[in-house]
Symmetry: D2
């Protein structure tokens, strides 16, 4: 199969990671890469890691060639996707959107957190939410429509929601979480999560040898996590920045339900999680007592989950480690595209990190 | 004033930081540094940063010269302090203990978490707990006894408890915390916190470009935090390791009390915190909305505290940033010694980090 | 084709990188991994990056199963290869040796620099030197013998010699280097180059935020570089350690030959280098004025070369950037094996780094 | 003594380091800090490390208050100093200039390398070159004029020239260097050396886990090094960028003079260097065989020098480690000011780095 693909916003970090994955994918043929800022430049001039790998040159976001493709991946800021998605779908192009524009089911929530008007809320009913391990049926439904000839839209989950939800969803969906009270999500991201923009915060000398929390209680991934986990008004989300390039670790503290089994053990919890993720190749639940390292998943689409159970304070502490650019963005989008195009979800995706 | 001082365990990271601070202190004269592993070696051979600054040579922990000093700082693992403290006190030497041996008031709690028998529990009643901003009276009492000629013991607080408690204590003591339910402490430390021992975890290639949680729900600082904040059985403490040398950030999520003022604002909270820390030179409460950076306190005895208030989920998120080796260990010990010896608590202590 | 392969010393950094490459290679089947220290442990227990990728378990170096393989990769310290190579060859196993034992053509030079007796110097005449871009005929000869049924030995080049020689060899072989005087090689390596052993130097807190030179004028790669470039007694080699995991940059300052063309330009030099490396897929010579970044080659078998020409001081400054574990060790060994087994040298090898 | 001081360009990295040093100096009173970009902002808002340490607010470079000071430190780009120095001197203010504008004795060389017209070449004859260990008489002469009531100008040496020259000058001045042929200087700097400007190169994700050479054979410090060492046309200078904040290591390979003593040893060389630097408190020459670590001098005005002698290739390899912002910029300027104002050169300057 040869699927003609394009990346809009290909010069940003998420976009460049999409380029890496699509160039290495046996079934996608990357035809168009766009960047308004770098239009006219060769890919390898902007990212020397691509030297010898591709002769592609950036065009602008309005490149008409996008309309002739089978799949377009959007790696643009929110609201920029609103401007592109309807037109692409009309021209029969399926869209894998890495922005936040179509993630939230309720446009009112979008408008409240993103301070922007949603201009195509009618698409929310039919788009799939792109987090395959937790929304398999959603993606299957869309894949069916695509197989029937329809151009479809997948709104890929954000980086923090992905790691957080893969760590917490099994416990929540199995009824192990208390029915009220805050669920605390403290997550740490590498600096690629702050994007390619050079500013005081992303300067090496600001980020190096430093730890800080940011956007406390007002990060836009909060409502997305609440939606995925169906925990409205209960997520306290504090993101932190640490000095590394790629890697995201989310630590979720889930108060135990009053009716949780009194004899629940960490081992039993691990067994239940493993059953939950049966058949999902990218999620690995570690043995009880082991905690994941982000370095074990860098460059891959894998998510490692660690679990602790504390009967003293009656909580589950679940941690999820991903590569924010791969499983948290570009890799997940390609995983969704694999599913939509009827392939094995692993197709063309790295699953093994460098050992060191 | 010239106070004859010694450091036991001076070749470890906490000990070496004590050496740095004492060599730079106008009133302490560092006479003895011990290290069983490095005995016989020159200080500057082990730590070239001290080249030209001192001709001291390491002796062993049983160096009899320790008995002739005014103050000994213990930077040894737990149980090793148990073996030294009573003898030093008997010989009239005041002890500033950086280990955990005399921190917990209840020896039963010590024995449970540290898996060791407490051999001098009688000293717990009279020792001061070394966290000056929260236990000022305790230290004043001990300083008085010292002024009267007594050798005294200060059990200095641990690194995680220091950052966590300075961030959380004002809210808790002012009655703003809910009376039940978990208080979640997610903290991140630089690798100096893991100590000088070279092992698979402290290897550069393991720690670099990696994030991980460790000792989840079983870190020994848990009961210490519960004791300081008087929140027995309620602290869920998850420490994390990040790729930097010095720096510790603790993020504490405190559920609001039911009777917290309905019109409480972040600004009001900041004002209350500032009133709480009035007159304490090392703690700086940032403006509402600002969050501290660990790089702003590296090498100093300062603690920066940031506050957010979320009425949506009814929590306070308080973050505290310190240098784990300085305010979290050696600096705090010297601060306590300054108080015990009747000096300004800032005496000889760095309070200004490098700007970059 | 299925080639049964094994890695001796698979728990070290070079060995683990071999495991990564061989697990991902379509034609090699990795059957045996050995580590005396970790024997009995699962691969993924030692390197969690391999979770889900392999069920292999470490055996000891004397595992008899090694004798049944087609190819064994040796990632052991020098002298340990001396002990294994002759026996493996006798049993018909081709060997790709990453150690230094068979690199130096003259056993006297080996004995002088490595302070060890060479116990099988007779193999030096027939082994190939494993640096395909500079010793193509050598490898072709060995591949022919292998095709004829013989077990062969390839002594793979070291990391510093690889980057240094790929940067300098074209100039030297084209007669652009002065016929006397020192050729200065100042190279910088990431910490993986110091190996997996946890010690004072590889401790995160020693290596982080530090630069230092080491083994100045006595690093064992010196005679290897002199041999490759045929510059006996002229290489001044100073290696440096910098705070990163993977990556090696070698800067070579080559005094110009007296008879070098007076009108030589950097552009012309680049053109000559490109002609020299015509058809070699892993070496990329950058445009005049551009200098390579090690981050552009991490995880790959690529080498990027940058060139400057200074007529003011009459020197060429050539820099070579590689991943010390991949092109500088494991990747180069697999590249050699690809050639020996008659495949495209790129087979199964990553050539595209992460863009960021 | 209270010396009224100001820093022009105080928001840049060199300027902020000056602020740190002057705030901590017992004899300077910092009255004015200027930054055109940050004028009106509080110092601690731009650099939170100064929280609680100062209430200073940035003004613009044309602040008339500068004219009332005793000393002004200029931390501005080249040509900007040309615009300020004459006016300040006329108003009786002594100037310590960290820019390159008055370093080169020959304005023609300045104009060639800096591509700018020198507008006050008449000041070059009377300015001192600010590298106290190598230009003691120069500074003494200026200090005398200052003592006689004159406003004086010190052109402080650049970061690379400082580390390079302190490592190489004793050998060169003692006649140990060959009288012709290139002297190769390969130096590595942390990212603060690239300045505070946020751009593609200083972005954390570009600089982290990367090594690269830059400005090869055309860095503007080249003629400055040649001037200091009196080696016209012989310095091949290649600067490199490595992932750390502060720290600069210069490795200088000096071909031995034909008439160098045949029995010269590394130990003898060390002894000669130590004699050369007798009485200079900031330079430490390490034992033969030891090489300096930049982490040992971070935050201080110290320079550690390491030496190797290779009779095989007939070279001296000398390495110098400094903190580029302190000894390489702000610290050296304060050291010069101490001398000019008649104080001990160490006054108020940190000489002891953090041990870890």
């Amino acid at each position: 199969m040869t699927i003609k693909a394009g990346v809009v916003g290909a010069a940003g970090y998420g976009g460049a990671e999409l380029v890496r994955l699509l160039l290495g994918h046996p079934d996608f043929e990357l035809k168009v890469i766009t960047s308004n800022a770098d239009a006219g430049q060769a890919l390898s001039a902007v990212y020397p890691a691509f030297t010898g790998a591709s002769d592609l040159v950036f065009t602008t976001h309005d490149d008409p060639a996008l309309g002739d493709l089978d799949a377009v991946f959007l790696a643009v800021p929110h609201t920029a996707a609103l401007a592109q998605v309807p037109g692409l779908l009309e021209r029969g192009v399926s869209v894998f959107d890495l922005s936040a524009d179509y993630r939230l089911s309720d446009p009112a929530v979008y408008e409240q957190w993103y301070d922007a008007k949603h201009t195509s809320p009618e698409l929310l009913a039919t788009r799939a939410f792109g987090l395959p391990e937790l929304f398999a049926e959603d993606l299957a439904r869309v894949a069916e429509r695509h197989a029937a000839g329809e151009a479809v839209l997948v709104a890929c989950a954000g980086c923090y929601p992905t790691a957080t939800s893969l760590a917490a969803a099994p416990a929540v969906r199995m009824g192990l979480a208390a029915v009220q009270g805050p669920v605390v999500v403290d997550a740490i991201s590498g600096v690629t999560g702050a994007g390619k923009s050079a500013n005081a915060r992303t300067h090496y000398c600001s980020a190096d040898e430093n730890l800080e929390a940011y956007n406390v209680c007002r990060h836009r991934h909060t409502p997305e996590i609440e939606q995925i986990l169906d925990l409205p008004g209960r997520i306290v989300f504090t993101p932190h920045l640490a000095p590394l390039k790629r890697g995201l670790l989310s630590t979720v503290t889930i108060p135990l339900a009053d009716d949780a089994p009194a004899d629940l053990t960490a081992e039993e919890l691990v067994a239940r999680y493993r059953a939950f993720y049966e058949g999902r190749p990218f999620v690995h639940v570690l043995d009880a007592g082991a905690m994941p390292k982000t370095s074990s998943v860098v460059g891959t689409c894998a998510c490692h989950v660690g679990l602790a159970l504390d009967m003293r304070t009656r909580v589950i502490v679940a941690t999820g480690a991903i590569d924010n650019l791969c499983k948290g963005a570009a890799g997940q989008a390609v995983q969704c595209a694999n599913i939509v195009f009827g392939m094995d979800e692993r197709r063309g995706l790295p699953s093994m990190a460098c050992p060191v």
